[in-house]
């Protein structure tokens, strides 16, 4: 024979068991469910915070690096410009110097050549005068058929040629 409780009744032992069950279940849910899940949630929250902090840090560092880089770039550009300017200036000076030296050398060489030519011409003219006076003396001796006084006449002829040269 199966025994049943009345439909509406209060059984003391059931009452006590139910309260104990609920308390045990609360402890179990707290220990096995809430604590475990909350631990993970807390860890995740901390990780997210750490990640955000790191991201902010990295961003600040990047901005700083960018500023530094830009400053470096600007100064480098300036330096390069001044370097190029200096180099150009120096090259200009150098080329001017070289040109001046070359010009001076050329004019010196020209002057020397001119003086050489002049000296040569004078020497050639002197030789020519000497030869011509010899030839003239010989020819005159032949013409007058007599021995001329070489020294006397030579002076005479030289004088003549000199006058001739001056006249020319």
């Amino acid at each position: 024979m199966e025994q049943f409780e009345p439909l509406v009744s209060i059984a003391p032992w059931e009452f006590i068991f139910t309260i104990c069950n609920l308390l045990i279940l609360t402890a179990a849910i707290k220990h096995f469910f809430f604590n475990r899940v909350n631990k993970v949630l807390e860890e995740r929250r901390q990780q997210v915070e750490t990640t955000y902090a790191e991201a902010d840090e990295a961003k600040t560092a990047a901005v700083q690096m960018k500023q530094e880089y830009e400053a470096h770039m600007a100064s480098a550009k300036e330096e390069a410009a001044s370097l190029v300017k200096d180099a150009t200036q120096r090259a200009q000076d150098r080329s001017d110097e070289i040109l001046g030296a070359a010009r001076a050398e050329a004019s010196a060489m020209k002057a020397k050549a001119e003086s050489d030519i002049e000296a040569e011409r004078r020497r050639a003219a002197g030789e020519l005068k000497h030869e011509i006076s010899g030839i003239a003396l010989t020819i005159a001796g032949k013409v007058v058929e007599k021995e001329l006084d070489a020294d006397t006449h030579k002076a005479l002829i030289d004088d003549f040629i000199d006058n001739l040269g001056d006249a020319s």
Binding site: A11, E14, L23, L25, T26, A28, F33, F34
Partner: protein, 248 residues
Amino acid sequence: MEVNITGAQIYFEIPILGGIPITETIVNSWIVMLVIIGLCLFLTSDLKVRGVSKRQVVAEMLVTTAQNFVNTNMGEKFAHYGPFVAALFASSLLSNLLSLIGMFPPTSDLSTTLAWAVLVFVLITATKIRTSGVLGYMKGFTQPIFVLTPFNILSELATPISMAFRHFGNIVSGGVISALVYAALAALSSLVLGLLPGVLGDVLSQIPIFQVGIPAVLSVYFDLFSGFMQAFIFCMLTTLYIGNAAEE
């Protein structure tokens, strides 16, 4: 045709302390407890901070929802009530849903719901005493005027009783109506099929064919909707009462 509507079946008695009866209520509430603890262990196995599984998503959602529910109704300082309210809701809901698979729901036993309600009443009273002291708690009964003291005491005692009977009544009425409907359908199908001629009618009238499908419609309301609603209402009242107790 006889329809017996009774309480929990008594399986046997442990012959100590004047006999401890082991009833369907107790056994089924142990089953509910085991299922809840098993679910907790299953959902929280292999928890990870990153790359979570679907299981963990469900677990985190449950914890967050329960905690939000408690924090909203009771305030942040009662956050430690989260596991208690979750345990209350889970036992109530799963107990109610046991009727879906034809088992006796422990919540259709007044002992169960009254035990919960009394525990909640103790928590309410403890919170009140902690908030305003023993004298303050006593003095609260004479407010706003001394004449109202008996009524205040009545209304205080009515809290657990109304909570217990509301929950119990809703679940047990569902069970009673289901039992009546099943009996009525069996009678109807025996009556209708008995009209069939010869042996066919004799055999078919023994099988309550009308019980198939039709009670499912009622079950959606009484077992699913009402079961969920009563669990929710019980927890809602628990959190609100305890939360209010701290404000006085």
